[in-house]
């Protein structure tokens, strides 16, 4: 890719507020790889929490803001499959050409690394046992990895990158791509099922000896972290950017 290309860093609201380290790792990783990356200060949220709750009609403010912040970039990169998918599928502004343009140039971090930067090696080192949580929107929405439902050849962009990390040991899960149960406002409106799904997912990682659960979406990881902490588990969550940027 042309090194002069301008990349806009899109940091979803909850990452900005609760997980700044994942955002810092994303920024540093992209900078290490020679990307000209800028973070527009006036960004807020993609609008997904409202839209998934049936209030897409209230997201025009978010959409306009997003367009204003990111229209001029060649690429938009975010450490979140879910928010990227939302923008890709649901950004609606008065100018449909602009919408299409945004949809075509927004990337989740790992797909940007494998598909645009075509990264083949990394200098990171992470000597731990790690379980990969396949977040649904990244996987089934953005197709960053093949889903178990389809009779198709398997692949995984996040896994390809994790394989480049030195001394990392990946664990195998019993259910390799089951939803964690976060689901946006589902996590509070359907508390019982959401928590049970999270507990089951956590147990799969723990039973297979994960020290860390990683993934491309902190929304899922935040939910899993909440459950891990409640049970005083030794297993921790970490965003994939932090592993790929680890030295």
């Amino acid at each position: 890719m042309n090194i002069k290309m301008k990349v806009g860093l899109f940091i979803p609201c909850y990452v900005d507020q609760f997980y700044p380290n994942a955002a810092i790792a994303t920024l540093q990783l992209l900078e290490k790889l020679g990307v000209n990356v800028t973070y527009p200060a006036n960004q807020t949220c993609c609008g997904q929490p409202m839209a998934n709750s049936g209030f897409e009609h209230l997201t025009s403010g978010c959409n306009t803001l997003f367009m204003a912040n990111f229209k001029e970039f060649d690429y938009i990169v975010a450490p979140s499959g879910s928010c990227v998918l939302h923008i890709k599928e649901h950004i609606h502004t008065p100018n449909h050409e602009d919408d299409k343009n945004i949809s075509g140039k927004i990337y989740e971090l790992t797909e940007f690394l494998t598909d645009v930067l075509k990264v083949t090696h990394l200098t990171s080192n992470f000597p731990h046992r790690v379980g990969l949580h396949q977040s649904c929107h990244g996987q089934r929405g953005l197709h960053i990895s093949q889903m178990s439902e389809l009779v198709e050849a398997p692949y995984s962009k996040p896994q390809t990158l994790l394989n480049m990390v030195q001394n990392i040991e990946m664990i195998t899960l019993k259910r390799k791509d089951e939803c964690c149960g976060f689901g946006g406002t589902f996590c509070v409106t359907e508390e019982a099922v959401s928590a049970k799904m999270g507990k089951d997912r956590v147990l799969d990682h723990e039973n297979n000896g994960a020290e860390y659960i990683t993934g491309v979406d902190l929304s899922c990881l935040m939910h899993l972290e909440g459950i891990l902490k409640r049970k005083n588990s030794k297993t921790k969550v970490i965003h994939i950017a932090e592993i790929l940027n680890a030295s």
Binding site: A41, G47, N52, G54, T59, G61, C136, C179, T189, E191
Partner: protein, 457 residues
């Protein structure tokens, strides 16, 4: 609304009171999903088959009027009587009229989700007709006075000990015995008597072939055939969307149906009924009950492609942990959640929200219904139609206000982090369901935005 309706979240919460049982339910259904995966991988062109099935169904929906006309004409030519029912009430009345004309007050019925949708059993009972369901799972829930919790596996929510108790009470099996072999044998004897003594039977229809006027009924137990081939009157009920153009299309659907449903290569019996037996009456009831309305909803019409395999239920991580009854509708799970609001948007307003939108359903669906996309779209329609809870509307408006302005967002963010213990999200500050089983994230000292300002500009 006068009747107090328990919504999915409440019913799911009830179901989750016994966590071990939820785990058992989840594992049982996941096992079926795994069987489905295993057998799908044995079919080299699985994804092409799904495409073919989806395309055939899309074509049918786009040409449904002529196909219905063609099917009716051919069925009549085959000696079958065809009835049309605009809604559930008319369907039920037609069944009753046929029985009354023959002075029949006892019926044996094989599985038909349409008759569940129409509440046929209740209607017939009110009118003095005794109905016995002959599918083992359906018989079990009938004895338990419950609706089926799954369209293919009606009593998947029941433990064998509970079934043992039911059979002890109703069929006289030994107390405390819950051996599936013994219980099935008891049901076999009980239902043989039923088949031999009932003069009328109701079955569902899996596929109706426009080209030939025949219809296909698939079972593993043989109960539809036992009923149909012994009864003087056979009434077969179908939704108008069950039509397929040609006999050869069955090749596509019969390859997909059982593999998707239970991981079997095909059901034990795939029976093609073309003409009645000598001296037998055969009726088909073509039912609308909201289907033409759904056909007119562009975003939702392809839900009518459903072949009722239940794969979306087996794969759904929510269904597996909330149980079929939490959907409070005849068709449970993800497909039920996109069909039900078409019939009664207010009553079923909760169902499209009973999902994480993970998308697994869409990708196991043998006819490629975009189920999770429709769940998302139903949410928009339901909110726009005014069926969202008031508190939610207010909180969503507050959220939209916050996120529309960088200034408000940055201020709220600082405050939000400070009071994180009490409010994980701005939507949620009165009650805190998050905290019931989950801890909060550790609040960082600064947001990324603040860090960036210090370190990069």
């Amino acid at each position: 609304m006068i009747q107090e309706l328990k919504h999915h979240a409440t019913l799911a919460d009830d179901f989750n009171q016994n966590e071990d049982r939820v785990g058992w339910h989840d594992d049982t259904l996941w096992w079926i999903r795994e069987k489905r995966d295993k057998i799908a991988w044995q079919v080299p062109d699985w994804e092409l088959l799904r495409d073919a099935a989806s395309n055939i169904k899309d074509h049918v929906l786009s040409n449904l009027n002529p196909y219905l006309v063609q099917f009716e004409a051919n069925a009549i030519a085959n000696g079958i009587t065809v009835h049309w029912a605009a809604d559930a009430a008319e369907h039920n009345q037609i069944v009753l009229n046929i029985l009354r004309e023959k002075e029949i007050n006892k019926l044996v019925k094989s599985k038909s989700m349409l008759t569940e949708e129409c509440h046929l059993n209740d209607f017939l009972a009110e009118n003095g007709v005794d109905v016995i369901d002959s599918d083992l799972g359906e018989r079990i829930v009938q004895l338990a006075e419950e609706p089926p919790s799954h369209i293919v596996l009606p009593c998947i929510h029941k433990k064998k000990e509970e079934i043992g108790q039911l059979f002890h009470k109703h069929l006289g099996t030994p107390e405390g015995n819950s051996d599936p072999q013994l219980l099935t044998e008891a049901a076999r004897h009980h239902l043989r008597e039923t088949f031999l003594s009932r003069k009328a039977t109701v079955t569902g229809i899996n596929f109706a072939v426009a080209e030939t006027g025949e219809f296909v009924v698939c079972t593993n137990e043989g109960n539809a055939d036992m009923g149909a081939h012994l009864a003087d009157v056979h009434i077969a009920c179908m939704g108008i969307e069950k039509i397929i153009p040609e006999r050869k299309d069955l090749g596509v659907f019969l390859r997909l149906l059982a593999r998707s449903a239970t991981g079997q290569p095909i059901t034990t019996y795939s029976s093609h009924f073309k003409k009645p037996r000598e001296n037998q009456e055969m009726h088909i009831i073509l039912v609308d009950n909201g289907r033409t309305k759904q056909l007119g909803r562009e975003d939702f019409r392809n839900s009518l492609k459903c072949i009722r395999c239940g794969a979306c239920m087996n794969t759904c991580p929510v269904y597996r942990r909330s149980g079929g009854h939490s959907y409070h509708y005849a068709i449970t799970g993800p497909i039920g959640a996109i069909l039900a609001p078409n019939l009664d948007m207010e009553k079923y307003a909760d169902l499209p929200f009973a999902s994480t939108l993970c998308g697994s359903c869409t990708n196991v669906c043998p006819v490629k219904i975009d189920i999770h996309q429709q769940l998302y779209k139903w949410r928009q329609v339901i909110v726009q139609s005014g069926y969202a809870p008031k508190a939610k509307v207010l909180s969503m408006k507050a959220m939209a206000f916050t996120f529309s302005s960088p200034f408000v967002y940055h201020t709220a963010g600082k405050m939000g982090r400070a009071v994180l213990k009490y409010a994980p999200f701005t939507v949620n500050n009165k009650f805190n369901p998050w905290y019931k089983q989950r801890d909060m994230p550790e609040p960082p000292s600064a947001s990324f935005g603040e860090w960036y300002k210090k370190n990069r500009n």
